[in-house]
């Protein structure tokens, strides 16, 4: 087992992790990025649609091309070492991150760490939900866009958030029929332009509808959907039988926060942010000093916000390592915060805003308690050790 020392260890090379790495590396931080995928980019590698946001950032560019550009930038950075096809197994109290590389198990020890592990897809309850053919929307996207295999012939999409709407469109592009999109809420969850795009192609979007059951012998052969009343109960007599071989679940994501729990970072259940999330400050730092977060693990949002938050986490980590002068730091931070505010200021982001406000309140309560002389918290990524005393000569990629 070898020990890989680094100034900054980043777990996850999705949009947040890569942008964090690029930002930190641009300030001279020796950075090690760990991702279980072979290719960098996380879920961007299957996003064939064009992104929203600022023209001067990456708006109008397809996710797959953003992933390509970001991975090229990573490869061109001499400060970044990539451990791909490598899974982070666990975080230990002494600051060790245990990883499984294709060659075996290694220890990664970073002076700082950024957790950008993303999210996993949620499941909902209905009879038959475990039948093969019931797939996460992301899984369907992976199968068709990353591997070129159609998930089936005919799909029922559950959930009209942006993921449900976008994946429906991508299914149509791959030559798969989308029977309907059902949405339990009274209104469509995702952006209207995404909804209109699939509606124009003849896909019905049924609000106030849900799946009653999936049926089939060993795999999905069909689904019964029905209408919901104002108390969310199915209305007998409104059932419709759809002959589909795939039921695609796009019912939300949950942060993949295991490493943060292991770190002892303060966590809180905030439904608006997708479940249990870390409490983190304006610099993206958790209550475990030296451990930063960015992207969906810190609250479920879009790739554009993940990229900006990733840059902020990378910048903050670089600054805490003494690599960024105060005035430069202040300027860059203000720029990124303004970008994040713009991305989150529309009506579609109301939920995120309220979730973030709750999170900040909880963080302040924790900080106040600490000031009042509560139990001391473990400091730094290496337990009680001072994390500023690193020797960059030892760093990976040095």
């Amino acid at each position: 087992m070898s020990v890989r020392k680094t100034e900054l260890a980043i777990v996850g090379a999705g949009p947040a992790g890569i942008c964090a790495a690029l930002e930190a590396a641009s300030h001279g931080v020796k950075t090690t990025v760990i991702d279980r995928g072979e290719e960098l980019g996380g879920q961007l590698i299957k996003q064939t649609h064009k992104f929203f946001g600022w023209h001067k950032k990456s708006a109008g560019t397809r996710g797959i091309l953003i992933a390509k550009k970001l991975s090229e930038d990573v490869r061109n950075s001499e400060n970044i070492t990539v451990l791909n096809s490598t899974e982070a197994l666990g975080y230990y109290d002494d600051g060790t991150l245990l990883v499984e590389t294709p060659q075996g198990i290694d220890r990664v020890i970073g002076d700082r760490m950024i957790v950008a592990t993303g999210a996993s897809e949620r499941m909902i309850l209905f009879p038959g939900n475990d039948l093969p053919g019931v797939y996460g929307a992301g899984a369907v996207q992976t199968l068709m866009n990353a591997h070129g295999v159609r998930p089936g012939q005919s799909v029922l999409m559950i959930g009209s958030g942006n993921i449900g709407l976008i994946v429906s469109y991508q299914l149509l592009q791959a030559g798969v029929r989308v029977e309907a999109v059902v949405e339990a809420m009274p209104t469509i969850g995702g952006y209207a332009v995404h909804a209109s795009k699939i509606r124009r192609l003849g896909v019905p979007i049924l609000t106030r509808h849900t799946i009653k059951e999936a049926y089939g012998k060993d795999q999905v052969e069909g689904a019964i959907i029905w209408e919901l009343d104002d108390s969310w109960n199915g209305i007998p007599g409104t059932e419709k039988d759809l002959k589909v071989d795939v039921i695609c679940l796009a019912v939300g994501l949950s942060p993949l926060a295991e490493l943060l729990w292991q770190c002892g970072a303060e966590m809180a259940y905030i439904p608006e942010l997708g479940g249990f999330v870390p409490l983190y400050d304006e610099n993206m730092e958790t209550t475990r000093k030296g451990v930063f977060v960015a992207g969906d693990v810190a609250g479920i949002e879009e790739a554009s916000t993940a990229m900006a938050a990733g840059r902020l986490a990378g910048l903050s980590a670089a600054r805490s390592l003494g690599k960024v002068p105060d005035d430069e730091y202040a300027k860059l931070k203000a720029e990124i915060l303004a970008e994040l505010e713009g991305l989150r200021s529309g009506p579609a982001s109301a939920k995120i805003r309220s979730g973030l406000a709750k999170m900040r309140e909880m963080l302040q309560a924790v900080q106040a308690k600490e000031l009042a002389g509560g139990e001391p918290r473990p400091q730094g990524v290496r337990g009680e050790r001072d994390c500023a005393g690193s020797n960059s000569e030892e760093a990976v990629g040095a």
């Binding site: 093969p132 996460g136 899984a139 199968l143 295999v149 795999q219």
Partner: protein, 113 residues
């Protein structure tokens, strides 16, 4: 070298994406010979061949297929060359692989001969 499979589940023409030519390899599923692309996930090759039941649950023996496709859940566990609990969605296909449906927790791995 053969580089093209034309199962009707394979996407051949796509408005945005191109799927580069890859080497065709032969593997077995439950003893039956199948073909897939080298390096694609086992689950993709099986799905393209119309096989969706990869695993049966250990309590109720219910059929299980893949669910997340990126290694998060454990719905797609298969036995590969006698080794159980391999994630079909992330394990790459190789020539000559022997893949079997995993029943429950699967057999304990045997020492290699």
């Amino acid at each position: 070298m053969e580089t093209k499979l034309s199962d009707n589940t394979r996407i051949e023409d796509h408005p945005i994406l191109d799927f580069p030519a890859r080497r065709v390899v032969t593997f077995t599923w439950e003893g039956q010979e199948l073909r897939g692309y080298e390096g694609e996930p086992i689950a993709a090759a099986l799905h393209a061949a119309g096989i969706k039941v990869l695993h049966t649950s250990h309590k109720s023996n219910r059929p299980r297929g893949f669910f997340c496709a990126i290694g998060n859940c454990s719905s797609c566990l298969v036995v590969v060359d006698g080794v159980p609990n391999v994630r079909a969605c992330t394990e790459k296909l190789r020539e000559g692989m022997r893949v079997e449906r995993q029943v429950g927790t699967g057999p304990a791995p045997r020492a290699r001969e």
